[in-house]
Symmetry: C2
Subunit: 461 residues, 2 copies
C-alpha cells in the first residue's frame, strides 16, 4: 500500500470534491438516523444488478478503481457545508457529523474487469449506516456508467478478434464521462483512445491524426496531405474520404509514398471500400499501409467487417452509450444491519415487487477443466459468509471454485493495487482472463440468456 | 456583461481545466496547420445534427450555458503542457501556441432551451482554425449529452401536463453527467432534482427524503417513520412500499397524522396502487396528502398514469439516458474558411455519404398566428447571412419570422446572460415558450416525422 506516483494523482488534488454528487435523501436519512441513534448501527450494503440488458450474456465490472481513487476525497469541505447550511438541507448536528466525515469502513468486491451476472454481489460495503449510506449515489454512478461501457466494449473486442479497437467517442458523451469511457474501454481490451485526459490520467495510448476539417481547411486535398506528412511523418494516418476515395488514396500515396502508415475511411460502405482501397494500395506497392475504419461502428458492424481487409476499428457513439444499454441498473441495497440487540441481521424489501435476498453474500465461479460453468452465490450466517473461502481442492469432477471477492478497502484504507494506471492494467488482464474462461459461445453477439447460471451455496451454521 | 456572483462560479475555480477533454487529432491538426500557416485562416464551424432520433418530433438545445461557463477556463496550464511535451503529442511550436491559447473568436447559436430540427445550425463558431478546432470535442460532448437529456425531459414534462416532474437519475449516469442531467431536465421544465451538486451550482430546488434502506435500518417500519417525522416534520414524504403498502400507509398516518405531506410508491403497479392509496388516505381524512411515484418511469409510463391520482413523478434512468436516445449525434463541421486569397469560402465534404451543405447559415422560425410552421435555413453570401435579420413585418398570410441565433460570445467575451443559475432560468422560459408555439400534435409521444419542415431561404448577392 504505497502512494502511487501516477498521473491521476496530481490531477485529483485539483478536482472538486465528489461529496455533493449525492442524492439529497442520503443526507435527510442521515439526519433522522443521527437523531434516533440508528446512524451508528453496523450495516452491510451490496451492489448488484437484478438483470442483464436484454440479450446480453454477461456484464463487465468497471469503475471500481475510480470509486477507490475518489473515496479518500469524499469529504465535506467548508464550501459544501456552507451551502448545506444555507439551504437548510440538514440540521447543525448533521453538519457537524459531515464536517468530520470520512469512510472508515471496508469494501470487498469483484476485481475490476471481472465478468458478472444477475445478482452477482459486485461490491459489498460495510460500515455504520451513516458512513455507508452517503456513498450510494456516487458509487452507483461510477459503477453503472463505467460497467455499461466496459460491457459493450467487451463485445466489440470479442467481435474484432485480434484487430485493435480504438476508442473515439468522447464527443458523444458528457465531457467527463468521455474520460471514464476511455478508461472502461481499456479495461475491456481497447488498444487506445482519442481522449487526451484519459491518456494523461490512466496512462493509455492516445491516437488520432486529422479530421475532414483539416482537408477542407486547405486549398486542395493534396496540400492537406503534404502538410500532415510534413508535420507527422509518413507513418501518419491520412483520412481519404473527404472527396473521392480513389483519388484520395492517390493523393495520399503521392504525399507519403508507399511507406504511408495508414489510411482512414469514415463514411460509405466500409466493407466494399476497404476491399477497393486494399487493392489500390497493394497495386501501388503500399502493401504495408494499413486501413482503419471509423463510421458509427458497433459490435455487429465490427463482426460484419471480419472478412474485409481492415486493420483496426475506431468506435465512438455506440461504445460510450453502452451499445443500447447506457447504464447497468446496479442498485445499492442494505442487506444486513445491527439490530437493537447488537446482532447483525439480514434485511430485505418484501413488498409485491423489486424484492431482494437479504444477508451478506460471497461469490465464486465454478470451473471445470478451466472452463466456467456456474456463478455461485454464497449465503448463510454472516460470519461464515464473511470468512468463506473455497476449499482449495484441485479440480475434480465437480470442478474447482474461484473466489470472486477481493479486498478493496480495509478499515478506510484503500488498496492501491486497483487505482491509477496500474489499476487499469490489472483490470484489463483480469477481464482478458475472466472472459477467456467463459463457456464456448458466451461471446456470441446474438441475444441469449446469461452465459452462466447463478446457483446458491448455503453455508451451515 | 457582469461577473455573476452565482454558485457555479466559486466552484469552477477549483475544477480541473477542460483543455484536455479533447481528441488528440485536434492537436495534431493544429501542429500541421501551424507549420504551413493555415492555422491562422479565419474559419466558420457549425454544430448541427443530421437527423433526430427515430420517431422524435423535435430536439431541445441544452448545454450552451455550460459551454460558455467553461470556455474561459479552456486554457492549457503547466500540468497539461508538461504532459503533452512528455508524451510528444505535439512539437515545441505547438506547445508555445497552446500556452497562450484562449478563444478570442465569436459564437452565435440557438438560445438554450430552443427546440431544433435536422440541420438546425444550433451553434456557429467563428475564429481562426487554430482557436476554433480545439473546441470541437468539448463543445460536442456538452451539447450532445445535455441536449439528449433535455430532449427526453421535454417529452416527460409534456406527458405530465401540470404535474411536477422531479429528476432523480444521478445514480444511473456518470457522476458528473448526473449534475448536467439535472440541469438539462430543469431547462425542459423539471421542477426539482435529487442531486445536491446540481442544486448548488445552478440554484435548482433539491428534493428527496428516504430510501428503503432507512426503513430496513430500523427494527420496524413504524419506528422508521417516527424517526423521519421527528427529524423532518409531518410535511415529509414517507416511502410506504418496503413491506405491505396498505400497512405502510397506516403506519405513515399513525406516525404523521392526516397532515402528512406525501407518500411515495417505488414499485408495483403504480396506477392501481395510486388509486388504492388515494382511497385509503381520503377515507382516513388525509385528503391533502400527496402521492408521488418513482419506479422506472419514462414519458410513456407518465402518460399512462394520467388518469391515476398521482401528484408528482420522480424520473431517473430513462431521463439521464435520453429515453432511448442517449446522445444527440450533433457534429462540428467546418463550413467556411479563408482561402489563400483571403476570401471566406464555403467548404463541405463531398464524397459518397455524410455530405454537408457548405457556407455559414442563419436560421429563423416562421410563425403564422403565433404558431410555428417552418424552420427556415438561411444561406447565401457570407456577409449577407452574417448580418441577416427578419424584416420585422407584422404577421401576414405568410407569417412572421423569428430569428433563432442569439449572440453568445463576441470576440472572446462571454455573454453572461446565458450562464449560471440565471442562464438555466432563462433557458427554461425559452423552452416553455418555444415548445408552446409548436404545431398542435408536436407534443404527441408516438413516433412521427419532425414537427416542422426545414425549408431554405437563399439570400441574393
Amino acid at each position: 500500500m504505497t502512494t502511487p506516483s501516477e498521473p491521476w494523482d496530481a490531477r485529483a488534488a485539483h478536482a472538486p470534491s465528489p461529496a455533493l454528487l449525492t442524492d439529497r435523501y442520503e443526507l435527510t436519512m442521515l439526519q433522522a438516523a443521527l437523531r434516533d441513534g440508528t446512524a451508528h448501527r453496523r450495516c452491510v450494503f451490496e451492489v448488484f444488478t437484478r438483470r442483464l440488458p436484454a440479450g446480453r450474456r454477461y456484464g463487465v465490472v468497471a469503475g471500481t478503481g475510480r470509486v477507490l481513487e475518489e473515496l479518500t476525497r469524499f469529504r465535506f469541505g467548508r464550501a459544501e457545508l456552507d451551502w448545506l447550511a444555507d439551504e437548510r438541507v440538514v440540521d447543525d448536528a448533521t453538519l457537524t457529523f459531515l464536517a468530520d466525515y470520512r469512510f472508515t469502513g471496508s469494501m470487498v468486491g469483484y476485481a475490476e474487469g471481472e465478468v458478472f451476472f444477475p445478482s452477482s454481489p459486485v461490491l459489498v460495503v460495510e460500515g455504520t449506516f451513516a458512513e455507508a449510506v452517503l456513498l450510494e449515489t456516487f458509487v452507483l454512478s461510477v459503477l453503472n456508467y463505467d460497467s455499461a461501457v466496459a460491457s459493450a466494449a467487451s463485445r466489440m473486442t470479442s467481435a474484432a478478434v485480434d484487430r485493435p479497437c480504438l476508442e473515439m467517442g468522447s464527443r458523444r458523451a458528457h465531457e467527463w464521462a468521455g474520460v471514464a469511457a476511455a478508461r472502461a474501454a481499456a479495461v475491456a481490451g481497447f488498444a487506445g483512445t482519442s481522449n487526451l485526459e484519459a491518456g494523461r490520467r490512466y496512462g493509455l495510448a492516445t491516437i488520432g491524426t486529422a479530421a475532414h476539417a483539416f482537408t477542407l481547411l486547405h486549398d486542395d486535398e493534396r496540400a492537406a496531405f503534404d502538410a500532415q506528412v510534413a508535420a507527422s511523418g509518413t507513418g501518419t494516418t491520412l483520412l481519404v474520404d473527404t472527396y473521392d476515395v480513389r483519388t484520395g488514396v492517390e493523393h495520399a500515396l503521392a504525399a507519403a509514398g508507399t511507406g504511408l502508415g495508414a489510411v482512414r475511411l469514415d463514411s460509405g460502405d466500409l466493407g466494399a471500400l476497404a476491399h477497393e482501397v486494399r487493392a489500390q494500395l497493394d497495386a501501388a506497392g503500399a502493401t504495408g499501409t494499413r486501413i482503419t475504419v471509423t463510421s458509427d461502428l458497433d459490435e455487429y458492424a465490427i463482426a460484419a467487417l471480419a472478412v474485409a481487409p481492415v486493420d483496426s476499428y475506431g468506435v465512438g457513439t455506440s461504445l460510450v452509450t453502452g451499445s443500447g444499454a447506457p447504464t447497468c441498473g446496479m442498485v445499492y441495497k442494505l442487506v444486513a444491519r445491527e439490530s437493537s440487540d447488537g446482532v447483525l441481521t439480514p434485511v430485505a424489501k418484501a413488498s409485491r415487487s423489486k424484492t431482494s435476498v437479504g444477508g451478506r453474500k460471497a461469490a465464486a465461479r465454478r470451473l471445470v477443466d478451466g472452463r466456467a460453468v456456474e456463478e455461485v452465490l454464497v449465503t448463510g450466517p454472516d460470519d461464515a459468509v464473511r470468512t468463506w473461502a473455497p476449499d482449495g481442492r484441485p479440480d475434480d469432477e465437480h470442478g474447482a471454485l474461484r473466489a470472486l471477492h477481493v479486498p478493496l478497502v480495509t478499515d478506510g484504507v484503500v488498496d492501491d493495487r486497483w487505482t491509477g494506471a496500474q489499476g487499469v492494467r490489472t483490470a484489463a488482464r483480469r477481464h482478458h482472463d475472466s472472459r477467456a474462461e467463459l463457456p464456448r459461445g458466451a461471446r456470441r453477439l446474438s441475444a441469449d440468456e446469461a452465459a452462466l447460471p447463478t446457483v446458491p451455496l448455503v453455508l451451515e451454521v
